[in-house]
């Protein structure tokens, strides 16, 4: 096995990024309201759908920042 000298890897602190989507979505107290609406869609729904995109961006960022080669 040639894994004796791990090459440069991103700081493990970047793993803390996983907390961002958790804080953003697991506490409905902060977003459970009808207004402001967007194209007739209550805030509760478009806010969470927006987080699908934000969370995907966070995952992609983690993938790039923590690249292992």
């Amino acid at each position: 096995m040639d894994n004796t000298t791990p090459r440069k890897k991103g700081s493990p602190w970047w793993y803390l990024l996983i907390l961002v989507p958790l804080i953003g979505t697991l506490f409905p107290a902060f977003y459970s309201s009808v207004s402001p609406e967007l194209w007739g869609i209550p805030f509760f729904y478009w806010y969470q759908m927006l987080w699908v995109i934000v969370s995907a961006a966070v995952s992609a960022a983690m993938y790039l920042l923590l690249r292992e080669n």
Binding site: D2, K9, P21, L26, P42
Partner: protein, 503 residues
């Protein structure tokens, strides 16, 4: 009888069946060997893994039950969306380590890892049994999804289900994991087409989103048990814990892990955790179909029928047939992966660990094929023999059970501080407490209100049980380490968890 829909449905179902048998020749390998049959030789790249793992998560149950819950109970059903939002970042951290150690030591199941890491046959058996038990009703539930679309086309009774399952059993038997992987690609294309058409056509017909939410709110407010289109303060802690608990449980299920283990590299696993959220968006749209059914004035007592009836009302018959085929195939794919995963567990961690210690890969392959048939037969008996309501509550309990394997599997991946006996007792405490909480609701609900420091906190029972599990495990570990009870041999080393980080 919806003849046009039925003909289209059967046509697509046949196409997929042929694919299933053809899959045996795809990326040729010796299918009598367990690693080839049950993990397709660990050769799946980023795209195939994406479809395969997506196929695991994105089942007929999601297509039928999540919108069904929105239809019946309102906003609470939308917890499926934050659940799939948080799951990938969490497992982005964890799964690459799992893949590495599994590849290094040739682990086919999570219990193989437990045996290697903790040198404890009883703990490995406990994890294997939990996986098998939690999977069975899940397979059965795929069938309720299929039943819902068949019923919408006017086909009642059990025989079409039996026919579908015999077909499924035969091609899983001959092609192993290659069959669901190949079918998952077709299935996802069909589901995406359905979702895109639905999100464009239905809102136009129903007068826009504003109108849909408005009508849904009116309908929910006048229901027998009134609901709302946004979560109420009383639901906040349930909503959050259901999402978080389901997310933590997802990749502990044997079938999800099978998808991960069959990936060809560590990088494939990481990439997938970054790419899989694409499914979550479609899931959100599918969930809203429940409200669209309310707005379209669909009236049904069985919430499972809401989406099929909506399609029949809003679409030409041939397109409904296409959508129904997508849903039914979406039931077949996970059912196949689940039965393979359960068969792998039985073969490795019960048959080889307790009966034939030096089984050859060929013997293992043969046993796994037969067990996959037995598991599906069991699911079929389950669905025909028990009322559906029962099956649904069993599936929710599946989450409570599988979450109790978290301390051994996830903590064990990072540290060997936890004592193997403490993990076993903690597991038992979590399972017992989880089932107790479920029983106090008369086996109806999986949320439980705990009174803590003068506060009443309703939450997903799986989370409460996990907290008890961890507390017991920590306390017992301190005790057992203090009196120096043997910890067993660890056959893994720190570098095993980093395999391929340099490639």
């Amino acid at each position: 009888m919806q003849w046009t829909a039925l003909v289209v449905f059967i046509l697509f179902f046949l196409l997929v069946t042929i694919l299933g048998f053809f899959a045996a020749r795809w990326r040729k390998g010796d299918l009598s060997n367990l690693e080839e049959w049950g993990l397709a030789g660990r050769r799946f790249g980023t795209m195939v893994t994406w479809f395969l793992v997506g196929g695991d998560i994105y089942t007929a149950y999601t297509f039928i039950a999540v919108p069904g819950l929105m239809y019946g109970a309102g906003a609470l059903g939308f917890y499926a969306v934050p659940y799939t939002i948080v799951v990938y970042p969490i497992f982005f951290m964890i799964l690459p380590r799992f893949w590495s150690v599994a590849k290094k030591h040739g682990y086919v199941t999570v219990s193989d890892f437990i045996q290697g890491r903790f040198d404890d046959r009883l703990l490995a058996l406990a994890i294997a049994l939990t996986g098998i038990v939690a999977t069975m009703p899940y397979i059965a539930l795929q069938l309720t999804g299929m039943q819902a679309v068949l019923a919408a086309m006017g086909i009642g009774g059990e025989w079409p289900l039996i026919v579908a399952f015999i077909i499924l059993a035969l091609y899983t038997y001959t092609s192993g994991l290659r069959a669901p992987a190949m079918i998952a690609v077709v299935k996802d294309l069909m589901i995406y087409i359905t979702v895109i058409v639905a999100i464009i056509v239905i809102p136009i017909k129903l007068g826009g989103f504003g109108n849909i939410f408005h009508s849904a709110q009116t309908a929910l407010a006048h229901a027998a048990t009134p609901g709302s289109i946004v979560a109420t303060p009383a639901q906040y802690s349930m909503y959050g814990t259901l999402a978080f608990g389901s997310a933590l449980a997802l990749f502990l299920y044997p079938h999800a892990m099978t998808g991960v283990f069959s990936a060809d590299s560590r990088k494939t696993v990481k990439r997938n955790m970054a790419l899989l959220p694409a499914y979550s968006f479609a899931l959100g749209i599918i969930a809203l179909l429940g409200f669209m059914a309310l707005a379209a004035g669909i009236h049904t007592k069985t919430s499972n029928a809401a989406v099929p009836l909506l399609f029949l009302k809003e679409f030409p018959s041939w397109f409904s047939g296409f959508a129904f085929a997508a849903i039914a195939i979406g039931a077949i794919v996970p059912a196949a992966i689940m039965s393979i995963a359960a068969a792998n567990l039985f073969t490795r961690n019960i048959y080889r660990a307790y009966f034939v210690k030096n089984a050859t890969p060929q013997q293992e392959g043969r046993v796994a094929k037969i067990v996959s048939l037995v598991v599906k037969l069991g699911a079929l008996v389950f669905i025909i023999g028990f009322p559906q309501q029962y099956a649904i509550s069993m599936q929710q309990v599946g989450g409570i059970l599988i979450l109790q394997t978290l301390p051994a599997l996830i903590f064990g991946l990072y540290t060997r501080w936890f004592h193997r006996r403490a993990l076993l007792v903690g597991w038992l405490a979590g399972i017992a407490y989880g089932i107790y909480m479920w029983s106090t609701t008369g086996y109806k609900s999986t949320t439980y209100t705990l009174h803590l420091f003068g506060q009443a906190i309703p939450a997903y029972a799986a989370i409460w049980a996990l907290i008890v599990n961890v507390i017991v495990t920590v306390i017992l570990t301190l005790v057992l380490n203090a009196v120096r009870v043997s910890q067993g041999e660890d056959s893994t080393t720190a570098t095993d968890y980093q395999l391929e980080t340099n490639i």
